[in-house]
Every structure is written in C-alpha cells, then in structure tokens.
Amino acid sequence: MVAVKMEKSPSDLLTSPGVSSVLKSLKLKTKQQEFLIRVTILGLIYVLAFITRLFSVLRYESMIHEFDPYFNYRVTQYLTQKGFYEFWNWFDSESWYPLGRIIGGTLYPGLMVTAAFIFWTLRFIGFAVHIREVCVLLAPFFASNTTLVAYFFGKQLWDSGAGLVAAALIAICPGYISRSVAGSYDNEGVAIFALLLTFYLFVKAVNTGSLAWALASAFGYFYMVSAWGGYVFIINLIPLYVMVLLITGRYSMRLYVAYNCMYILGMLLAMQIRFVGFQHVQSGEHMAAMGVFFLMQVFYFLGWVKYLLNDPRKFHSFLKITVTSAVGLGAIALGVGTASGYISPWTGRFYSLLDPTYAKDNIPIIASVSEHQPTAWSSFMFDFHILLILFPAGLYFCFKRLSDATIFIVMYGLTSMYFAGVMVRLILVATPAVCLISAIAVSATTKNLTQLVRTKSKPASGGSGKGATSSKSSSKGSLDQSPPFRKNVAIALLVGAFYLLSRYAIHCTWVTSEAYSSPSIVLAARGAHGNRVIFDDYREAYFWLRQNTPQDAKVMSWWDYGYQITAMGNRTVIVDNNTWNNTHIATVGRAMSSYEDEAYEIMRSLDVDYVLVVFGGVTGYSSDDINKFLWMVRIGGGVFPVIKEPDYLVNGEYRVDKGAAPKMLNCLMYKLSYYRFGELTTEYGKPPGYDRARGVEIGNKDIKLEHLEEAFTTSNWIVRIYKVKPPNNRW
C-alpha cells in the first residue's frame, strides 16, 4: 500500500498537466495553479516522508531502536523529569564504573532538548503524550522537515521543479531512512535536517548577500553543533567552498558578508555548547575556518588598498608583501599554537576520515565499529539506487550552469561522496547532496524532454509550462526542428525516466521495509510453519536485571550493550557505547579474553557483580559476542600486551571447534558463552553442543566455572548472565 503511495510523488509531477486542466475550470491563473500544485505535492511528500518511516512501528511496536538511541532516550527522560539544570549538571554514576561520566558536558544536547521541547509543548497544549512516543516519532518528523528544506534548497540551486524532485527523492532515499525510521532516536535524525538547513541558509546568504540570511545560517549552524559531532563537516566544507570561490575569482561582497557573519556568530554560538567549548579556536580541525576568515580580511583589505593606491605596479608589490607576511604569520601562529599545545592536533577520527587505513593500524576501537568500515559498492547501490547514476548527470548539469550555488552543491556532493566511501555511516551525510544533484538531473532532463514534446504539439504554448526558461531548453527547441521523430524519442525517454523513478520508489520501499525497519532489540525470524517467531531475549534479560538484582549491582559486558543495560536494565555498567576511555574498554576486553582466575582478579578489582554475554549458538544469531571476540582481544591487546591475538588463532584462523587454540577454549568469553551448551541438542541430526551461528560442534563441552555461576539465561539463550561469586572464606 505504501509502495503505491510512494510512486505517487514522482507521478504527481507527471499528472500535473491533467490536474491543471481541472484547475482551469476553477478559473485560476496559471501561476496560481502552479503554486497550488506545488504546495499539494510538497504536502504529499511531507506526509509520505513521515509515513514511510513507520514500518517498524507497524511491524513491531513503538519502541526505541539500536544502541545509542537508548542512551538518548534515557537522557531525555531525565531531562523531562528533572528539568534543564539537573540535566546540564548530571553526573552519571551508572556508567563507566568506577569513573562515572559527566553527561551534561559530554553530549550534544540538541536532540534531547528538541524532544523535550516538543514534549513540553504538546503537554502544554493538552496532549497527554508519553515522552517515548515523542522520541520515537522525532526522526520521521524531522525527516519530513528535511524534505521542505530540500525543496527550498533545490529551488535555490536550480528551480522549483528541481526542488520538488529533490524533496521527493530525499523523502524516500534509503541512505537517509536508515537513520531516521521511527524509533531511531539518534542525533543524526535531527542533524541531517540541521545540516541541510545550514547549507541552504548559507547558500541563500551567499546568493543574496543578506545579513539576515547569514545570521539565520549561523543559528542553523548552532543547532547543528548542538545536535551532532558531524558539524565539523560544515565548518570545514564552508571554508573550502569559500577558498574555491576565492581561487576561481568569484570573491564578492555577498560572500564576504555571508561568511564572516556566519563564521563569527556561528563560532560564538557554538561555544555555548559545553561539549564543544573552545574547540573552534583551539582545535586543529577548526583551524581551516579561522584561516579562511583571516584570508577574507586580507582580501577585503587588499581590495581597499587597491582602490586607494589606484596603481597596479605599486599594488602588485604591496600584494606580495602582504600575502607573504599574512601567510607567514598564519603559519607561525599555527606552528606556535600547535607546539605549545594550545591548538590540539587532529583527532584519530578525523585522521581516519582522511586516511582510511589509519584507524585499522592505530585505533582498533574505531576500526572495530561496524559503521566505521569502508563502504562496499553494494551499500552504495543499496542506499542510492538510481541516484548513483543520476549523480554524475546532475554534476554535468551543475557544471553546465555554474553559479555560486551550484559550485557549493558540487563541492558538497564530491567531498561527501568521498567520505561516504571511507565510512559506511557517512553515506548519510552524502545523501542530501546526492538527492539534490540527482534532482537537478531529473528535473533538467524531464523539463527539456517535456518541452520538446510540447513545442512539437503546441508551438504556441512554448516554454510557459513551468517557471523560468533555461538556456538549455532554447537550444533544444532549435534542435528539435530537424528530425521528425524527435518527439517520439522524447516520449520514450520520458517514459524510461519515469520507469526508473518508479523502480527507485519500489526499491526504497523494499529497503525500508526489509532492512532498515527492524529495531535490533527484538529479533524476528520465520518459524518452521512459516509463522513469525519473535526473539525478545534482550529485553527479557534486561528486565530480569532490572527486577531481580540489587539496585547497585555492576554489570560487565562488552561495550555494545552498555547503553541498553543502563537504559532498560537500570544497572551500573563498566563500559558503554560512549567509548571515551580506551583503557577501560581494554580492561574489559582483557578480562573477557583471560582465563577465569585471571579474569576473576580483574572483575574483583572492578567490583563486578554480574557478567553479561550475548550468545547466538542456539538461535543462529550471528552478531553475538563470540563473533565479536577478536575485537575484544585486539582492543585488550592494544593496551595490555599480555593479550596476544595469535594465541586465539590457529594458523591465522579463528575457530571454536575441537581444532581451536587452547587459550580460546579456556578463556572467559568462551566459557561463559558455551557453559552447559554441550548438553543441549540444538539441531536435529547434529551432535549436542552444535553451534548454529558458526555451524560447528563446540570444542570444549566440559566447562566448569569456579568463580562465576549462571544467574540467568534467556529463553533462546541469546543473553546469558553470570553472577560473580564472592571470594571464598580463607579459613
């Protein structure tokens, strides 16, 4: 049903002439008709963007997905219950035991504040909603808003037609949907909106030279900084863009006003976010923006001097001196700043963006995250589909009609595409650019083609169809006079274009429904009789922890589950998904990969009461701890050299069956995962202890635990919780 609705949006563009004839009877002027159609289409796209993200709510329930959103949800609950000051000053002792975490100073509060604000507003109006519903539906709501921004951005870049197509494309683009389905309550949901809004407002400011738009873009930037760490992309892309404009001789007063206002105000505003603080003046990642800011001043100053001197020869020598001294001063300032430690060097994450191999060699914790993997080609196809082909076409059109705005979108598109290739998760950042550029391609092509069709049949009506006549159409118009069957070709091409677009809509719906709408907390599979089987083991375990363990119990698990344990289990964890302390994570990794008695020492020193492991051997759930185990070894070994990766491998192979390495068969993770698993027959015709996730019979069936005891195992064995026994009495 949704698929039909999705196809509507591109086809609305198609049927608009038919609608217009109906509207003619209402005696509206052409412009009014066009406006009405545009608003209607935009409204439909707005609704579509929202409802296509509701698959998970319909299939499962209104719940928070994945890992990080659980932290955001917990923080939002705290904010709505205790108020803003308490939230800002919150020291969370439930995570990173025994270190704790200063929540207020280590997060981007934009998302939570937005949700809380919407919640309070709704409450004020008299809607007794639950904060969970607000959080779940926040991302779809912002996705809808993003379509509006995309429309205006497209309009700014090209024309309103391109804007509409851009809005329609971004509404259902899987690259964006993957992070904005209902329940995906994460920073990105809000941040993509803020990112696109900032860019749009900045381009608008550059186009108009208006201080008001520049101011607006500074506020957009502020919102972006408050919402997501990806703001670094803005603060580097915009200076780069300005640099390109300067180099290509497109410097103008408009640019000067727009950039200076945006940079200075944006910087001052961004400093209000505690997590960002003075980074804009102290961090290497933000120095490009500052450099360009000074460069702009030099440019302006030179212009003024040129005007004063009025003599090219004098000016030339002056130029030499100023430029060398300015560059020299800048370089010295940067060098001194860096050497004295005032300016921090680039962070590892930034390096790993520029050099994809960096993280793999130096920071295993970054390399271990599945979202930080280099993108596979299939992912591009999966997330962009035909946009991948339309993108170069759109670039072509942009180059054809170069302007300040199109240069911006080209730069945005190219840089973000590069980053998308470096890390899977950055496909998200590239999505708006890809959609906008593709929209230009679609819009320009279809417009040209329809004009061809129309001029042939009704030479009188000409290009009155939609808005401005481009230079392209006039050249095409002159061309189509020669071959007689050009009209047929144009119609065929149009049909082909719409076929492609409808395939895109179908693909998007399919991807959304199949791949991006599962909450990952609840797992679903098909049973033997074709019925749906639900594995709700995570929540079973977390709720057990919440109800049946002491209030102050400390739970050790791999960091992936930290946020979920604190949010759903309401218990203190040793490490969580905010991977700020590598040593602490490495300690947990070391405990998991040591023998039981060594691990017991580590766990005693961390006051651990319970150990939680995720195990998929019974159900065949492959993202369990055994499959993640090599990363624990690697991260643990990165800090504690006693842990050596080769000890766990046999001839470079990672295995859990009889041929596994002896250290592997006796380490804590292995023992906890497979404790008493050897007694269980998982599959008919297989020996007991057959691991379905890895398809082997386990190598160590006789596991004895000395310092731990099984406290709880969920019904499908996915989560296993062990209690750490108190030390034996010495006497």
């Binding site: 299939r59 993957s178 993997q373 599962s518 639900i534 709720f543 992936d560 499959n627 990672y654 709880f712």
Partner: protein
C-alpha cells in the same frame, strides 16, 4: 514463633469467664471445619450449629481469631442456612470486626449479625468462609532450582471460639500427598491429600491446641504487591482500563544458579514452584488489549474472547522463581454500555468489578482510580466492603478543568473480592471534551497487529562492534 508462644499461653486451662455482661450464653452444638491448603490462599469453611442456652435472645455470634491470623484475614463471609436438607437456602449475613473487653491473649473477633435474634433454646446453622493470605510459611526458606517447595501451616486442632463446642472436627486438604510432618492431636489421621483432626468432644471456650502441618505446595505463590487499576470512563463509548502490576513470587526464595538447560530439559523436576503463566479473566467484549512493561511490549500473551468472558493468558518475560519480581501493565477497553447505566435524570452509575482480574492471586495493596468524564460532579460510591477513599483530579487529553478521580484503596485483596462496585455520578453532557479520539493514539502504539513476516536483510549499520563471520 509468635504463634507458638501464643499457643503456649493458651495451653493453660482456659476456662476464663466468658460471660461478659453483654454477650448472652451460646454454645456450639456441632462445628465442622475444612481448611483448604491447595493454593497459597488458605480458605477455611466453617459450619457451626449454634444454640442459645442463655436467657436473653442473642443477636450476634462471635468468631474468634488469634491475632497472628487476624492480620492475614482477607475476607470473612457468613451465611445462615435455612430450609430442609434437600432444599437448602443461604442468606448472607453481615460480618464486622468487633472489639471485646477483657479478652484473653489479644484474641480478635468478628461478629456475625443474625437476621433475627436467636431466642432461648433456639438453634441455627451458620456457614462461614474466611480467607487467609500469607499464612503458608516456606520452610526451607530458600530452595534451589531442583527442589520442591515445602511450607508450614500453623493453626489449632480445636477451633478457637469464645463458646463451648460440643462436637467438632477439622479436615485439612493439602495439594499433594507429600506431607512431611504434622502435629498429632488424637484422634487424627491422614489419608492421601486429606488430614483429619477430631472429632473432639466438649472443648471449652478458648481451647487451643497448636498444630503445624509441613507439606509440599508447588502452586504459584503469585502475589501482586501493588496493583493500580485506572478505570477511565469516556462518554464516547468506551471504558479504558489500565492496570499496573507489581508481581512477586512470594514462596521460598530461589537460591543459587538458574540453569536454563535444566529448566528446559527437565520440566517435571526443575523449577517446580516457579510459574510462567498467569490468567487474567476480563469482561466480555474486550477490545484493544495490550500487555507491556516499562521497556516495551511483551509479546507472550494470548487473548481469547467469548460472549461470557475474555481470558488473557499472560506470560511474564521470564519465569518467576521464589523472590523474583516482575512489573507490567495490562490495558484494555470495554464498551461503555456494558458498565454505565442510567439512574434518574442526569445521573448515571458505573458498575465495575472490584479486585484483581488475575486468577488465584493475592493483592497486597489495591488502588482503584475511577476517572470520570470531565465535568462530572458529586461522585458517590457503593462498595460491598470497607475501603479507603479519596478524590483527586487528573488532566488528560485537552482537559481544561481536569477530571474527577475517585480513588479507592484496599489492602489484602483476594479473588473473592471480585464483586461489582458502583460509582454514581452526575454528568452534565455539555462539558464533554471534544477530542477523545486522541485517546486511541495511546493505545494503538502499544500493541499492533503483526502485519506480515519480516525477512531481514543484514544491514551492518549499527554503531556497535563489527561482527566477524567465521570462515571455517
């Protein structure tokens, strides 16, 4: 222990003066007691044949309880038996706790008011039911997964009574024939699941003979520590009920490991005292039922509806072992016309069932909140037993002046309390809030029909550790 001391005190010859100035002389000709220990709620059925041997007509009969038992009494009901053997008729009588001066050892009383005073020499038969909760004491206090649960039951072989009892007998029913031990007070014998004390002849007033029965009871000791039921009346055609449960297993505490292997492979020898299902009996025509907790929907529930009743079989997220707890919420809507009736002009009354819909469950503290439509005034209440009541205001969707909420509180509630109660309200209809439709958003997010099967495509897009697939 308290019971033991108490009984020692009573072991003294207890021919204290029973004739206080006000109470007339009664004696019990024949007493027959059945103690049903098959569940964790103890039901005692008592049949008394009372005769007035004094001069004054007697209008009430006293029931005596030791103080330890009195605290656990959930309900006392009495009925007068009339008619012949074949055609017995029962008339329920009023029972109220009373105080008496100069009572031995803090004995507590309930007084049964007879329909008409018993004249001199007259006799009448009374059927009495009283229900005790939290009286089965697990021993051993902690058991492991493979052990079955043993409990103590303390009582007296001779019925405690302020009257002389000519002849009496007690029958104790245990859930299985595994009885570890029981105190012998001759004549007493055991056959199968039945344990018989008596018949005893001529026991004086306040005679007491403590007995302990130690037996196996693997029934679900399901105790709802707190239950809050919110009954929201909407004149738009629905009564929305939301019930917040704090459930606990009040039996012997679970000790040591919980082994899933054993629990799954040996269902008859492992976790015998644990339970994983509960049955909630809901009114017929229930719609949009949901079952969830703080962290989301619980998918293990089945709703069966018929024209007489609806049954919601719920399974907590995990089996409950001794001492384990679970909290959850059950919610459902029922049609308004089944529960709201008109009485006179502008006045209506809501007729709804008191008590907990879960079968065989004790509720330690029950709070019922009846949320009346906005603008309704002067609510009045009719409950068949004593409850604490108060009134508060609640703001829900688009409320301007808030809704009147009648709050009823009662401790120690058993399934026998599931009798209807009435709230009368006068409701000016012009004050109807206009957007009741919003209400549905709340419910519709909680449980959704599962549309179709989801075939998952791995997306590898979550922000957690990457999974290395084994290559073997």
């Amino acid at each position: 222990m308290a019971a033991l001391i108490f009984s020692l005190l009573f072991a003294l010859p207890l021919l204290a003066k029973t004739t206080s100035s006000s109470s007339p002389d009664l004696q019990i000709l024949h007493a027959d007691r059945q103690i049903d220990l098959t569940s964790h709620i103890v039901r005692v059925y008592l049949t008394l044949k009372v005769e007035n041997i004094g001069d004054d007509p007697a209008s009430e009969v006293l029931l005596a309880f030791p103080p330890a038992q009195f605290d656990h009494l959930a309900l006392v009901k009495a009925a007068a038996v009339g008619g012949k053997k074949k055609k017995k008729s029962y008339t329920s009588l009023e029972v109220n706790p009373t105080e008496r001066p100069d009572v031995p050892n803090g004995t507590k009383y309930y007084a049964i008011s007879l329909l008409k005073p018993l004249a001199k020499g007259g006799a009448t038969t009374l059927e009495i039911l009283y229900i005790l909760t939290h009286t089965l004491e697990p021993f051993p206090v902690e058991i492991s997964q493979s052990e079955s649960q043993l409990v103590y039951y303390h009582d007296s072989a001779i019925i405690l009574s302020p009257y002389h009892i000519k002849q009496q007998a007690t029958l104790v029913k245990t859930p299985s024939n595994k009885v570890e031990s029981f105190t012998r007070v001759e004549p007493s014998n055991r056959a199968g699941t039945e344990l018989k004390y008596g018949p005893y002849e001529d026991s004086g007033p306040y005679s007491y003979s403590p007995v302990i029965v130690h037996f196996e009871n693997n029934n679900a000791f399901a105790v709802v520590e707190e239950l809050e039921r919110e009954i929201e009346v909407s004149h738009w055609g629905s009564v929305q009920v939301t019930e917040h449960y704090k459930l606990a297993h009040a039996g012997a505490k679970h000790k040591g490991v919980f082994s899933r292997v054993e629990y799954q492979s040996k269902p008859t020898a492992s976790g015998l005292s644990s339970f994983k299902h509960l049955l909630a009996v809901l009114p017929p025509r229930v719609h949009s039922a949901y079952y969830r907790d703080d962290i989301g929907n619980i998918s293990t529930s089945r709703l069966r509806t018929s024209s007489k009743k609806s049954e919601l079989l719920i399974e907590p997220r995990y089996p409950l072992f001794g001492g384990w707890k679970a909290t959850f919420v059950i919610g459902y809507g029922v049609p308004l016309q089944d529960f709201l009736f008109e009485s006179g002009v502008g006045a209506r009354y809501l007729n709804y069932s008191f008590g907990c819909p879960l079968a065989d469950t004790v509720v330690d503290k029950l709070t019922i909140k009846v949320v009346l439509p906005e603008g309704s005034k002067n609510p009045s209440l009719k409950v068949p037993f004593t409850v604490e009541q108060s009134v508060e205001t609640k703001y829900s969707y688009l409320d301007v002046m808030g809704r009147t909420v009648v709050v009823l509180e009662k401790k120690n509630v058993v399934p026998d309390h599931n009798t209807p109660f009435q709230v009368r309200l006068s409701c000016p209809l012009q004050f109807q809030p206009s957007i009741y439709a919003c209400r549905t958003t709340d419910a519709s997010f909680c449980i959704f029909p599962f549309l179709h099967h989801l075939h998952r495509v791995p997306s590898h897009r979550s922000l957690n550790t990457e999974v290395k697939h084994l290559t073997l």
